[in-house]
Amino acid sequence: MIPLLQAQAPATSFWSEAFNSSELWTKLIITLVVGLVVMVGLLYAPIRARKPIIAFFTFISGAYWVLLYLWPKPIDRQPGEMPLNTVETVSFWLADSNNVVVSFTQILTGFLLGLGIFSLLKIHLTKITKGHKDAFFSIVLLVSMGLMIWFGYADWFDRLGERGAMLDNRDNWGFTQYGRDFLFEGLLQQMDAAMFSVIAFYILSAAYRAFRVRSVEATILLSAALLVLLSLMGAVSFVWDENVKSIANGNPFILNFQLTEVAQWIRNTFQTSSIRGIQFGVGLGALAMGLRLWLSLEKPGSGS
Protein backbone atom coordinates (compact mmCIF):
# COMPACT_ATOMS: atom_id res chain seq x y z
CA MET A 1 0.00 0.00 0.00
CA ILE A 2 1.41 3.39 -0.91
CA PRO A 3 1.95 5.39 2.31
CA LEU A 4 0.67 8.60 0.68
CA LEU A 5 -2.70 6.96 0.16
CA GLN A 6 -3.14 5.77 3.75
CA ALA A 7 -5.90 8.08 4.91
CA GLN A 8 -5.84 6.55 8.40
CA ALA A 9 -2.32 7.73 9.22
CA PRO A 10 -2.55 11.51 9.52
CA ALA A 11 0.01 11.75 12.36
CA THR A 12 2.88 11.07 9.98
CA SER A 13 1.43 12.51 6.80
CA PHE A 14 3.11 15.17 4.74
CA TRP A 15 0.48 17.72 5.75
CA SER A 16 0.47 17.11 9.51
CA GLU A 17 2.69 20.08 10.41
CA ALA A 18 1.26 22.59 12.88
CA PHE A 19 -1.12 25.20 11.50
CA ASN A 20 0.69 28.31 10.26
CA SER A 21 4.10 26.80 11.19
CA SER A 22 7.16 27.63 9.09
CA GLU A 23 7.58 23.92 8.26
CA LEU A 24 4.09 23.77 6.75
CA TRP A 25 4.65 26.97 4.76
CA THR A 26 8.01 25.65 3.51
CA LYS A 27 6.38 22.43 2.33
CA LEU A 28 3.56 24.35 0.70
CA ILE A 29 6.00 26.58 -1.16
CA ILE A 30 8.12 23.61 -2.30
CA THR A 31 4.99 21.82 -3.54
CA LEU A 32 3.85 24.94 -5.36
CA VAL A 33 7.25 25.36 -7.03
CA VAL A 34 7.35 21.69 -8.06
CA GLY A 35 3.80 21.98 -9.41
CA LEU A 36 4.69 25.08 -11.40
CA VAL A 37 7.82 23.42 -12.81
CA VAL A 38 5.72 20.44 -13.96
CA MET A 39 3.17 22.79 -15.53
CA VAL A 40 5.81 24.83 -17.32
CA GLY A 41 7.46 21.58 -18.43
CA LEU A 42 4.16 20.46 -19.92
CA LEU A 43 3.69 23.84 -21.63
CA TYR A 44 7.08 23.59 -23.32
CA ALA A 45 6.77 19.88 -24.17
CA PRO A 46 6.13 19.21 -27.88
CA ILE A 47 2.41 18.85 -28.65
CA ARG A 48 2.89 15.25 -29.80
CA ALA A 49 4.40 14.36 -26.40
CA ARG A 50 1.80 16.38 -24.47
CA LYS A 51 -1.23 14.54 -25.83
CA PRO A 52 -0.36 11.02 -24.63
CA ILE A 53 0.67 12.37 -21.19
CA ILE A 54 -2.70 14.10 -20.76
CA ALA A 55 -4.60 11.06 -22.12
CA PHE A 56 -2.69 8.78 -19.73
CA PHE A 57 -3.44 10.87 -16.63
CA THR A 58 -7.07 11.35 -17.71
CA PHE A 59 -7.48 7.59 -18.05
CA ILE A 60 -5.79 6.83 -14.69
CA SER A 61 -7.90 9.48 -12.91
CA GLY A 62 -11.13 8.17 -14.43
CA ALA A 63 -10.17 4.55 -13.81
CA TYR A 64 -9.95 5.22 -10.08
CA TRP A 65 -13.61 6.32 -9.91
CA VAL A 66 -14.77 3.50 -12.15
CA LEU A 67 -12.94 0.96 -9.96
CA LEU A 68 -14.22 2.55 -6.75
CA TYR A 69 -17.77 2.16 -8.04
CA LEU A 70 -17.48 -1.33 -9.51
CA TRP A 71 -14.96 -3.10 -7.27
CA PRO A 72 -16.39 -4.99 -4.23
CA LYS A 73 -16.27 -2.80 -1.13
CA PRO A 74 -14.79 -3.88 2.21
CA ILE A 75 -17.55 -5.11 4.53
CA ASP A 76 -17.33 -4.50 8.27
CA ARG A 77 -13.63 -3.65 8.02
CA GLN A 78 -11.95 -3.28 11.40
CA PRO A 79 -9.09 -0.84 12.13
CA GLY A 80 -5.72 -2.47 11.43
CA GLU A 81 -7.33 -5.39 9.57
CA MET A 82 -5.09 -6.93 6.90
CA PRO A 83 -6.45 -7.91 3.46
CA LEU A 84 -6.90 -11.66 2.86
CA ASN A 85 -6.57 -11.76 -0.92
CA THR A 86 -5.97 -9.62 -3.98
CA VAL A 87 -9.59 -8.53 -4.29
CA GLU A 88 -9.57 -7.31 -0.69
CA THR A 89 -6.15 -5.68 -1.11
CA VAL A 90 -7.47 -3.61 -4.00
CA SER A 91 -10.72 -2.77 -2.18
CA PHE A 92 -8.77 -1.63 0.93
CA TRP A 93 -6.46 0.43 -1.25
CA LEU A 94 -9.36 2.05 -3.06
CA ALA A 95 -11.15 2.85 0.21
CA ASP A 96 -8.00 4.26 1.87
CA SER A 97 -7.03 6.35 -1.10
CA ASN A 98 -10.51 7.84 -1.54
CA ASN A 99 -9.91 10.75 0.78
CA VAL A 100 -6.57 11.63 -0.83
CA VAL A 101 -8.11 11.54 -4.31
CA VAL A 102 -11.05 13.66 -3.09
CA SER A 103 -8.59 16.20 -1.64
CA PHE A 104 -6.75 16.32 -4.97
CA THR A 105 -10.08 16.93 -6.71
CA GLN A 106 -10.90 19.77 -4.32
CA ILE A 107 -7.51 21.37 -4.88
CA LEU A 108 -7.76 21.05 -8.66
CA THR A 109 -11.26 22.57 -8.62
CA GLY A 110 -9.91 25.33 -6.37
CA PHE A 111 -7.46 26.17 -9.13
CA LEU A 112 -10.45 27.05 -11.32
CA LEU A 113 -11.06 30.06 -9.07
CA GLY A 114 -7.47 31.15 -9.68
CA LEU A 115 -7.93 30.56 -13.39
CA GLY A 116 -11.04 32.75 -13.30
CA ILE A 117 -9.16 35.58 -11.59
CA PHE A 118 -6.29 35.25 -14.09
CA SER A 119 -8.73 35.34 -16.98
CA LEU A 120 -10.54 38.42 -15.63
CA LEU A 121 -7.24 40.24 -15.04
CA LYS A 122 -5.97 39.39 -18.51
CA ILE A 123 -9.10 40.59 -20.33
CA HIS A 124 -9.72 43.74 -18.32
CA LEU A 125 -6.09 44.88 -17.96
CA THR A 126 -5.79 44.56 -21.75
CA LYS A 127 -8.94 46.70 -22.16
CA ILE A 128 -7.58 49.33 -19.75
CA THR A 129 -4.11 49.51 -21.27
CA LYS A 130 -5.50 49.71 -24.81
CA GLY A 131 -7.93 52.47 -23.81
CA HIS A 132 -11.04 50.50 -24.87
CA LYS A 133 -14.27 52.55 -24.87
CA ASP A 134 -15.60 50.43 -21.96
CA ALA A 135 -12.35 50.64 -19.99
CA PHE A 136 -14.15 52.50 -17.20
CA PHE A 137 -16.22 49.41 -16.41
CA SER A 138 -13.08 47.28 -16.39
CA ILE A 139 -11.54 49.67 -13.85
CA VAL A 140 -14.67 49.46 -11.68
CA LEU A 141 -14.56 45.67 -11.87
CA LEU A 142 -10.88 45.37 -10.97
CA VAL A 143 -11.09 47.94 -8.16
CA SER A 144 -14.15 46.15 -6.74
CA MET A 145 -12.39 42.81 -6.96
CA GLY A 146 -9.25 44.20 -5.33
CA LEU A 147 -11.21 45.81 -2.50
CA MET A 148 -13.22 42.68 -1.82
CA ILE A 149 -10.06 40.55 -1.75
CA TRP A 150 -8.29 43.02 0.53
CA PHE A 151 -11.14 43.38 3.02
CA GLY A 152 -11.89 39.67 2.89
CA TYR A 153 -8.31 38.69 3.71
CA ALA A 154 -7.90 41.47 6.32
CA ASP A 155 -11.04 40.22 8.08
CA TRP A 156 -9.78 36.63 7.86
CA PHE A 157 -6.40 37.56 9.37
CA ASP A 158 -8.17 39.47 12.18
CA ARG A 159 -10.16 36.35 12.96
CA LEU A 160 -7.06 34.16 13.21
CA GLY A 161 -6.20 35.78 16.54
CA GLU A 162 -7.69 35.05 19.95
CA ARG A 163 -10.51 37.54 19.29
CA GLY A 164 -11.61 35.58 16.20
CA ALA A 165 -14.92 34.30 17.55
CA MET A 166 -15.69 37.67 19.18
CA LEU A 167 -15.82 39.23 15.73
CA ASP A 168 -19.08 37.39 15.07
CA ASN A 169 -20.58 40.00 17.37
CA ARG A 170 -21.09 43.35 15.65
CA ASP A 171 -20.19 45.23 18.88
CA ASN A 172 -16.56 44.09 18.50
CA TRP A 173 -16.17 45.14 14.88
CA GLY A 174 -13.51 47.47 13.58
CA PHE A 175 -12.98 49.28 10.26
CA THR A 176 -12.07 46.03 8.46
CA GLN A 177 -15.24 44.24 9.51
CA TYR A 178 -17.48 47.18 8.65
CA GLY A 179 -15.70 47.49 5.29
CA ARG A 180 -16.14 43.80 4.55
CA ASP A 181 -19.79 43.89 5.64
CA PHE A 182 -20.49 46.93 3.45
CA LEU A 183 -18.91 45.34 0.40
CA PHE A 184 -20.18 41.79 0.91
CA GLU A 185 -23.58 42.20 2.55
CA GLY A 186 -24.29 45.81 1.61
CA LEU A 187 -23.31 45.61 -2.06
CA LEU A 188 -22.56 42.14 -3.43
CA GLN A 189 -25.48 40.30 -1.82
CA GLN A 190 -27.93 43.08 -2.69
CA MET A 191 -26.81 43.20 -6.31
CA ASP A 192 -26.92 39.40 -6.46
CA ALA A 193 -30.54 39.49 -5.24
CA ALA A 194 -31.42 42.34 -7.61
CA MET A 195 -29.97 40.48 -10.61
CA PHE A 196 -31.97 37.38 -9.76
CA SER A 197 -35.15 39.41 -9.23
CA VAL A 198 -34.96 40.71 -12.79
CA ILE A 199 -35.94 37.20 -13.94
CA ALA A 200 -39.48 37.88 -12.65
CA PHE A 201 -39.94 40.57 -15.31
CA TYR A 202 -38.83 38.25 -18.11
CA ILE A 203 -41.04 35.42 -16.81
CA LEU A 204 -44.11 37.66 -16.74
CA SER A 205 -43.39 39.11 -20.16
CA ALA A 206 -42.69 35.68 -21.68
CA ALA A 207 -45.78 34.09 -20.10
CA TYR A 208 -47.95 36.92 -21.39
CA ARG A 209 -46.61 36.82 -24.93
CA ALA A 210 -45.94 33.12 -25.48
CA PHE A 211 -48.46 31.13 -23.43
CA ARG A 212 -51.19 30.88 -26.06
CA VAL A 213 -53.87 28.22 -26.55
CA ARG A 214 -52.92 27.45 -30.14
CA SER A 215 -53.22 23.65 -30.07
CA VAL A 216 -54.65 20.81 -27.98
CA GLU A 217 -51.22 20.19 -26.42
CA ALA A 218 -50.82 23.86 -25.52
CA THR A 219 -54.31 23.87 -23.96
CA ILE A 220 -53.50 20.83 -21.80
CA LEU A 221 -50.17 22.39 -20.78
CA LEU A 222 -51.79 25.72 -19.96
CA SER A 223 -54.59 24.12 -17.93
CA ALA A 224 -52.13 22.07 -15.89
CA ALA A 225 -49.90 25.12 -15.34
CA LEU A 226 -52.85 27.25 -14.21
CA LEU A 227 -54.00 24.59 -11.74
CA VAL A 228 -50.51 24.28 -10.26
CA LEU A 229 -50.13 28.07 -10.13
CA LEU A 230 -53.47 28.42 -8.36
CA SER A 231 -52.52 25.68 -5.89
CA LEU A 232 -49.49 27.74 -4.90
CA MET A 233 -51.81 30.58 -3.91
CA GLY A 234 -52.79 29.58 -0.39
CA ALA A 235 -55.83 31.85 -0.26
CA VAL A 236 -57.27 30.46 -3.51
CA SER A 237 -56.58 26.82 -2.71
CA PHE A 238 -57.91 27.23 0.85
CA VAL A 239 -61.24 28.69 -0.32
CA TRP A 240 -61.54 26.18 -3.22
CA ASP A 241 -60.78 23.20 -0.93
CA GLU A 242 -63.19 24.36 1.78
CA ASN A 243 -65.98 24.69 -0.83
CA VAL A 244 -65.25 21.23 -2.24
CA LYS A 245 -65.26 19.78 1.31
CA SER A 246 -68.63 21.33 2.06
CA ILE A 247 -70.09 20.06 -1.24
CA ALA A 248 -68.56 16.61 -0.84
CA ASN A 249 -69.97 16.11 2.63
CA GLY A 250 -67.48 13.29 3.18
CA ASN A 251 -67.82 11.75 -0.31
CA PRO A 252 -64.25 10.57 -1.09
CA PHE A 253 -64.72 10.86 -4.88
CA ILE A 254 -65.72 14.53 -4.75
CA LEU A 255 -62.90 15.24 -2.29
CA ASN A 256 -60.49 14.39 -5.12
CA PHE A 257 -61.46 17.70 -6.71
CA GLN A 258 -59.81 19.77 -4.00
CA LEU A 259 -57.27 22.04 -5.69
CA THR A 260 -54.40 20.75 -3.55
CA GLU A 261 -55.35 17.16 -4.47
CA VAL A 262 -55.55 17.95 -8.18
CA ALA A 263 -52.21 19.80 -8.13
CA GLN A 264 -50.63 16.96 -6.15
CA TRP A 265 -51.99 14.44 -8.66
CA ILE A 266 -50.49 16.44 -11.54
CA ARG A 267 -47.15 16.60 -9.73
CA ASN A 268 -47.02 12.96 -8.67
CA THR A 269 -48.40 11.44 -11.84
CA PHE A 270 -47.17 13.52 -14.77
CA GLN A 271 -44.48 15.82 -13.48
CA THR A 272 -42.32 13.36 -11.56
CA SER A 273 -42.55 10.68 -14.26
CA SER A 274 -41.58 13.22 -16.93
CA ILE A 275 -38.67 14.46 -14.84
CA ARG A 276 -37.53 10.89 -14.22
CA GLY A 277 -37.58 10.30 -17.96
CA ILE A 278 -35.57 13.45 -18.60
CA GLN A 279 -33.10 12.52 -15.87
CA PHE A 280 -32.61 9.05 -17.36
CA GLY A 281 -31.88 10.70 -20.70
CA VAL A 282 -29.47 13.17 -19.12
CA GLY A 283 -27.81 10.31 -17.23
CA LEU A 284 -27.28 8.30 -20.41
CA GLY A 285 -25.91 11.37 -22.16
CA ALA A 286 -23.56 12.06 -19.26
CA LEU A 287 -22.40 8.43 -19.35
CA ALA A 288 -21.64 8.63 -23.06
CA MET A 289 -19.89 11.98 -22.64
CA GLY A 290 -17.97 10.68 -19.61
CA LEU A 291 -16.74 7.68 -21.58
CA ARG A 292 -15.59 9.88 -24.44
CA LEU A 293 -13.71 12.16 -22.03
CA TRP A 294 -12.23 9.27 -20.06
CA LEU A 295 -10.93 7.55 -23.17
CA SER A 296 -9.74 10.91 -24.61
CA LEU A 297 -11.98 10.53 -27.65
CA GLU A 298 -13.15 14.12 -27.31
CA LYS A 299 -11.28 16.73 -29.36
CA PRO A 300 -9.68 18.60 -26.45
CA GLY A 301 -8.28 15.33 -25.07
CA SER A 302 -7.06 13.79 -28.29
CA GLY A 303 -6.23 17.00 -30.10
CA SER A 304 -7.48 15.44 -33.32
Binding site: G110, Q264, I275
Partner: protein, 315 residues
Protein backbone atom coordinates in the same frame (compact mmCIF):
# COMPACT_ATOMS: atom_id res chain seq x y z
CA UNK B 1 -50.97 50.90 -30.16
CA UNK B 2 -52.92 50.35 -33.37
CA UNK B 3 -55.35 47.55 -34.31
CA UNK B 4 -58.51 46.08 -32.86
CA UNK B 5 -59.11 45.26 -29.19
CA UNK B 6 -57.76 41.71 -29.62
CA UNK B 7 -54.45 42.97 -31.00
CA UNK B 8 -54.24 45.62 -28.32
CA UNK B 9 -54.77 43.05 -25.60
CA UNK B 10 -51.98 40.92 -27.02
CA UNK B 11 -49.44 43.67 -27.25
CA UNK B 12 -49.40 45.63 -24.02
CA UNK B 13 -46.10 47.54 -23.85
CA UNK B 14 -43.39 46.00 -21.69
CA UNK B 15 -42.90 49.09 -19.49
CA UNK B 16 -46.58 48.91 -18.44
CA UNK B 17 -46.28 45.20 -17.67
CA UNK B 18 -43.16 45.84 -15.61
CA UNK B 19 -44.75 48.75 -13.76
CA UNK B 20 -47.78 46.62 -12.85
CA UNK B 21 -45.44 43.87 -11.60
CA UNK B 22 -43.44 46.31 -9.49
CA UNK B 23 -46.65 47.66 -7.92
CA UNK B 24 -48.16 44.19 -7.43
CA UNK B 25 -45.07 42.86 -5.69
CA UNK B 26 -44.06 45.87 -3.63
CA UNK B 27 -47.38 47.26 -2.31
CA UNK B 28 -48.27 44.09 -0.35
CA UNK B 29 -44.98 44.43 1.57
CA UNK B 30 -46.34 47.58 3.21
CA UNK B 31 -49.62 45.96 4.25
CA UNK B 32 -48.78 42.67 5.99
CA UNK B 33 -51.65 40.20 5.83
CA UNK B 34 -51.86 36.59 6.94
CA UNK B 35 -52.99 34.48 4.01
CA UNK B 36 -55.06 31.35 4.77
CA UNK B 37 -53.01 28.33 3.92
CA UNK B 38 -52.83 24.54 4.16
CA UNK B 39 -49.24 23.29 4.41
CA UNK B 40 -48.30 20.62 1.87
CA UNK B 41 -47.40 17.07 2.96
CA UNK B 42 -43.72 17.43 2.08
CA UNK B 43 -43.31 20.40 4.45
CA UNK B 44 -45.30 18.65 7.18
CA UNK B 45 -42.90 15.69 6.88
CA UNK B 46 -39.96 18.08 6.92
CA UNK B 47 -41.22 19.72 10.10
CA UNK B 48 -42.04 16.35 11.67
CA UNK B 49 -38.48 15.16 10.97
CA UNK B 50 -36.95 18.22 12.61
CA UNK B 51 -39.24 18.03 15.62
CA UNK B 52 -38.52 14.31 16.03
CA UNK B 53 -34.80 14.97 16.52
CA UNK B 54 -33.81 14.01 20.06
CA UNK B 55 -32.52 16.99 22.04
CA UNK B 56 -28.80 17.55 21.54
CA UNK B 57 -28.73 15.73 18.17
CA UNK B 58 -25.91 16.44 15.75
CA UNK B 59 -27.06 17.59 12.35
CA UNK B 60 -25.01 17.93 9.17
CA UNK B 61 -26.13 20.92 7.12
CA UNK B 62 -25.07 21.64 3.56
CA UNK B 63 -25.78 25.36 3.14
CA UNK B 64 -25.62 26.23 -0.55
CA UNK B 65 -27.54 29.45 -0.92
CA UNK B 66 -26.45 33.07 -1.37
CA UNK B 67 -28.01 36.49 -1.81
CA UNK B 68 -29.52 35.62 -5.18
CA UNK B 69 -32.12 33.27 -3.65
CA UNK B 70 -32.33 34.75 -0.19
CA UNK B 71 -36.02 35.61 -0.74
CA UNK B 72 -36.69 31.90 -0.31
CA UNK B 73 -33.54 30.30 1.10
CA UNK B 74 -32.88 32.76 3.92
CA UNK B 75 -36.42 32.34 5.22
CA UNK B 76 -35.99 28.56 5.16
CA UNK B 77 -32.57 28.82 6.82
CA UNK B 78 -33.88 31.01 9.64
CA UNK B 79 -36.95 28.86 10.28
CA UNK B 80 -34.87 25.69 10.30
CA UNK B 81 -32.43 27.22 12.78
CA UNK B 82 -35.28 28.38 15.02
CA UNK B 83 -36.47 24.77 15.18
CA UNK B 84 -32.94 23.36 15.60
CA UNK B 85 -32.21 25.80 18.44
CA UNK B 86 -35.45 24.69 20.11
CA UNK B 87 -34.34 21.04 19.72
CA UNK B 88 -30.97 22.03 21.21
CA UNK B 89 -29.33 20.51 18.14
CA UNK B 90 -25.67 20.92 17.25
CA UNK B 91 -25.06 21.81 13.63
CA UNK B 92 -22.05 21.21 11.40
CA UNK B 93 -22.31 23.47 8.34
CA UNK B 94 -20.42 23.12 5.09
CA UNK B 95 -20.92 24.55 1.61
CA UNK B 96 -20.11 23.23 -1.82
CA UNK B 97 -21.97 25.32 -4.42
CA UNK B 98 -20.66 28.85 -4.05
CA UNK B 99 -17.63 30.37 -2.28
CA UNK B 100 -19.96 33.02 -0.81
CA UNK B 101 -22.21 30.46 0.86
CA UNK B 102 -20.26 29.84 4.12
CA UNK B 103 -20.11 33.56 4.89
CA UNK B 104 -23.78 34.05 3.99
CA UNK B 105 -24.76 31.23 6.39
CA UNK B 106 -22.49 32.65 9.08
CA UNK B 107 -23.99 36.13 8.70
CA UNK B 108 -27.53 34.71 8.85
CA UNK B 109 -26.77 32.92 12.14
CA UNK B 110 -25.13 36.06 13.55
CA UNK B 111 -28.25 38.03 12.63
CA UNK B 112 -30.42 35.44 14.39
CA UNK B 113 -28.15 35.60 17.44
CA UNK B 114 -28.36 39.40 17.58
CA UNK B 115 -32.15 39.16 17.60
CA UNK B 116 -32.04 36.54 20.37
CA UNK B 117 -29.63 38.68 22.36
CA UNK B 118 -31.98 41.68 22.14
CA UNK B 119 -34.74 39.48 23.58
CA UNK B 120 -32.43 38.13 26.32
CA UNK B 121 -32.61 34.63 24.86
CA UNK B 122 -29.58 32.32 24.91
CA UNK B 123 -27.51 32.63 21.73
CA UNK B 124 -26.60 29.77 19.41
CA UNK B 125 -22.86 29.84 19.85
CA UNK B 126 -20.25 29.17 17.26
CA UNK B 127 -17.98 26.22 18.08
CA UNK B 128 -20.17 24.98 20.97
CA UNK B 129 -23.49 24.81 19.08
CA UNK B 130 -22.43 25.07 15.46
CA UNK B 131 -19.27 24.93 13.41
CA UNK B 132 -18.54 26.32 10.00
CA UNK B 133 -16.52 23.67 8.19
CA UNK B 134 -16.16 25.92 5.18
CA UNK B 135 -16.26 25.68 1.43
CA UNK B 136 -15.48 22.66 -0.75
CA UNK B 137 -14.97 23.71 -4.37
CA UNK B 138 -16.06 20.38 -5.84
CA UNK B 139 -19.51 19.46 -4.53
CA UNK B 140 -19.57 15.92 -5.89
CA UNK B 141 -16.12 15.03 -4.58
CA UNK B 142 -16.96 16.60 -1.20
CA UNK B 143 -20.10 14.54 -0.66
CA UNK B 144 -18.24 11.48 -1.92
CA UNK B 145 -15.53 12.07 0.69
CA UNK B 146 -18.13 12.69 3.42
CA UNK B 147 -19.94 9.47 2.55
CA UNK B 148 -16.78 7.36 2.41
CA UNK B 149 -14.54 8.91 5.06
CA UNK B 150 -16.04 11.79 7.01
CA UNK B 151 -13.01 12.14 9.29
CA UNK B 152 -10.75 12.49 6.29
CA UNK B 153 -13.09 14.82 4.39
CA UNK B 154 -13.41 17.29 7.27
CA UNK B 155 -9.92 16.61 8.66
CA UNK B 156 -7.72 19.69 8.88
CA UNK B 157 -10.68 22.07 8.66
CA UNK B 158 -10.64 24.71 11.39
CA UNK B 159 -13.17 26.95 13.10
CA UNK B 160 -13.12 29.54 15.84
CA UNK B 161 -13.57 28.58 19.50
CA UNK B 162 -14.33 31.47 21.88
CA UNK B 163 -11.20 33.41 22.90
CA UNK B 164 -8.86 31.06 21.11
CA UNK B 165 -7.15 30.81 17.72
CA UNK B 166 -8.77 28.49 15.16
CA UNK B 167 -8.80 24.81 16.07
CA UNK B 168 -9.60 21.55 14.32
CA UNK B 169 -13.38 21.23 13.88
CA UNK B 170 -13.30 17.71 15.34
CA UNK B 171 -12.30 19.22 18.70
CA UNK B 172 -15.58 21.14 18.84
CA UNK B 173 -18.50 19.74 20.87
CA UNK B 174 -20.47 19.61 17.61
CA UNK B 175 -18.30 16.91 16.06
CA UNK B 176 -17.30 15.07 19.23
CA UNK B 177 -17.81 11.34 18.66
CA UNK B 178 -18.68 11.79 15.00
CA UNK B 179 -16.66 9.49 12.75
CA UNK B 180 -18.99 8.70 9.87
CA UNK B 181 -21.98 10.23 8.14
CA UNK B 182 -24.32 7.74 9.85
CA UNK B 183 -23.45 9.40 13.19
CA UNK B 184 -25.64 12.33 12.13
CA UNK B 185 -29.31 11.43 12.65
CA UNK B 186 -30.17 13.91 9.90
CA UNK B 187 -28.52 15.64 6.97
CA UNK B 188 -30.14 18.88 5.86
CA UNK B 189 -29.51 20.54 2.53
CA UNK B 190 -30.51 24.18 2.00
CA UNK B 191 -29.77 24.77 -1.62
CA UNK B 192 -30.52 26.71 -4.74
CA UNK B 193 -28.50 24.41 -6.97
CA UNK B 194 -28.01 20.81 -8.02
CA UNK B 195 -25.89 19.93 -4.98
CA UNK B 196 -28.95 18.25 -3.43
CA UNK B 197 -28.74 15.61 -6.18
CA UNK B 198 -25.23 14.68 -5.09
CA UNK B 199 -26.46 14.23 -1.52
CA UNK B 200 -29.15 11.82 -2.74
CA UNK B 201 -26.63 9.93 -4.89
CA UNK B 202 -24.09 9.44 -2.08
CA UNK B 203 -25.83 9.72 1.29
CA UNK B 204 -29.38 8.45 0.68
CA UNK B 205 -29.92 5.27 2.67
CA UNK B 206 -26.99 6.07 4.99
CA UNK B 207 -28.71 8.79 7.02
CA UNK B 208 -32.10 10.55 6.60
CA UNK B 209 -32.03 13.46 4.15
CA UNK B 210 -34.27 16.54 4.21
CA UNK B 211 -34.07 19.47 1.81
CA UNK B 212 -35.03 23.13 1.74
CA UNK B 213 -35.02 24.10 -1.93
CA UNK B 214 -36.03 27.06 -4.06
CA UNK B 215 -39.35 27.13 -5.91
CA UNK B 216 -37.85 26.18 -9.26
CA UNK B 217 -36.29 23.08 -7.72
CA UNK B 218 -39.57 21.73 -6.34
CA UNK B 219 -40.43 19.50 -9.35
CA UNK B 220 -37.10 17.66 -9.33
CA UNK B 221 -37.08 17.42 -5.51
CA UNK B 222 -40.58 15.94 -5.58
CA UNK B 223 -39.10 12.97 -7.48
CA UNK B 224 -36.81 12.15 -4.53
CA UNK B 225 -39.60 12.73 -1.99
CA UNK B 226 -42.01 10.49 -3.85
CA UNK B 227 -39.43 7.69 -4.02
CA UNK B 228 -38.75 8.21 -0.28
CA UNK B 229 -35.07 8.98 -0.91
CA UNK B 230 -35.62 12.11 1.19
CA UNK B 231 -37.85 12.28 4.25
CA UNK B 232 -39.33 15.70 3.50
CA UNK B 233 -38.64 19.01 1.91
CA UNK B 234 -39.54 22.65 2.21
CA UNK B 235 -40.06 24.04 -1.30
CA UNK B 236 -39.86 27.69 -2.24
CA UNK B 237 -41.56 30.57 -0.48
CA UNK B 238 -44.74 28.52 -0.02
CA UNK B 239 -42.62 25.96 1.87
CA UNK B 240 -41.19 28.68 4.12
CA UNK B 241 -44.69 29.98 4.87
CA UNK B 242 -45.86 26.42 5.54
CA UNK B 243 -42.94 25.92 7.92
CA UNK B 244 -43.69 29.13 9.81
CA UNK B 245 -47.33 28.09 10.18
CA UNK B 246 -46.30 24.62 11.34
CA UNK B 247 -43.99 26.16 13.95
CA UNK B 248 -46.93 28.20 15.18
CA UNK B 249 -49.63 25.52 15.13
CA UNK B 250 -47.89 22.12 15.02
CA UNK B 251 -49.62 19.16 13.39
CA UNK B 252 -52.78 17.65 14.94
CA UNK B 253 -51.90 19.82 17.93
CA UNK B 254 -53.19 19.87 20.66
CA UNK B 255 -55.27 17.04 19.17
CA UNK B 256 -56.54 16.01 15.76
CA UNK B 257 -60.07 17.35 16.30
CA UNK B 258 -59.08 20.86 17.35
CA UNK B 259 -55.70 21.19 15.64
CA UNK B 260 -55.44 23.97 13.04
CA UNK B 261 -53.19 21.90 10.78
CA UNK B 262 -54.22 18.28 10.38
CA UNK B 263 -52.58 15.20 8.94
CA UNK B 264 -53.83 11.63 8.65
CA UNK B 265 -50.33 10.30 8.20
CA UNK B 266 -48.62 12.02 11.12
CA UNK B 267 -49.32 11.85 14.83
CA UNK B 268 -49.42 14.84 17.15
CA UNK B 269 -46.46 17.14 16.63
CA UNK B 270 -46.37 20.11 18.89
CA UNK B 271 -46.01 23.67 17.74
CA UNK B 272 -44.49 26.51 19.70
CA UNK B 273 -46.57 29.68 19.29
CA UNK B 274 -44.31 32.70 19.24
CA UNK B 275 -44.65 36.02 17.35
CA UNK B 276 -41.09 35.38 16.14
CA UNK B 277 -42.22 32.37 14.12
CA UNK B 278 -43.73 34.71 11.56
CA UNK B 279 -40.75 35.70 9.50
CA UNK B 280 -39.84 36.05 5.88
CA UNK B 281 -42.45 33.54 4.67
CA UNK B 282 -45.33 35.45 6.26
CA UNK B 283 -43.94 38.76 4.99
CA UNK B 284 -43.34 37.71 1.39
CA UNK B 285 -46.14 35.20 0.75
CA UNK B 286 -48.80 37.84 -0.09
CA UNK B 287 -46.36 39.28 -2.63
CA UNK B 288 -46.02 35.86 -4.26
CA UNK B 289 -49.82 35.68 -4.38
CA UNK B 290 -50.13 38.94 -6.24
CA UNK B 291 -47.30 38.06 -8.62
CA UNK B 292 -48.90 34.69 -9.45
CA UNK B 293 -52.33 36.30 -9.80
CA UNK B 294 -50.88 38.90 -12.14
CA UNK B 295 -49.25 36.20 -14.24
CA UNK B 296 -52.52 34.25 -14.50
CA UNK B 297 -54.42 37.42 -15.43
CA UNK B 298 -51.86 38.35 -18.08
CA UNK B 299 -51.94 34.84 -19.60
CA UNK B 300 -55.74 34.95 -19.74
CA UNK B 301 -55.66 38.47 -21.18
CA UNK B 302 -53.22 37.43 -23.90
CA UNK B 303 -55.38 34.47 -24.86
CA UNK B 304 -58.60 36.49 -24.85
CA UNK B 305 -56.81 38.97 -27.09
CA UNK B 306 -55.79 36.15 -29.44
CA UNK B 307 -59.38 34.86 -29.73
CA UNK B 308 -60.78 38.35 -30.30
CA UNK B 309 -58.17 39.01 -32.96
CA UNK B 310 -58.95 35.69 -34.68
CA UNK B 311 -62.68 36.45 -34.63
CA UNK B 312 -61.98 39.90 -36.03
CA UNK B 313 -59.93 38.38 -38.86
CA UNK B 314 -62.70 35.90 -39.73
CA UNK B 315 -65.43 38.56 -39.74
Amino acid sequence: MKGNLGEKLQSLPKPILYLILILATSIPLFFPTEVPNEPVESTKDFYATLMALPEGSKVLLMSDWTGSTRGESKGAFRSIFKILIRRKAKVAIYSAADPQAPRVAQDAINELNMERKRKNLPTFDRWNDWVNIGYFPNAEAAINGIANDLKGAFGGRKDFPPNSPPRDVFQSPVLQGVTKVEDFPLMLVITASKTSNFAVERVSGRTPLAFAVTGVMVPETQVFYQSKQIVGYCGGLKGVYDLEQLMESGVNFPDKATGKIKSDKLGTIEGFPDPDNKGQGTRYYPTLHYALALMIIMIILGNVGMFLAKRGDKS
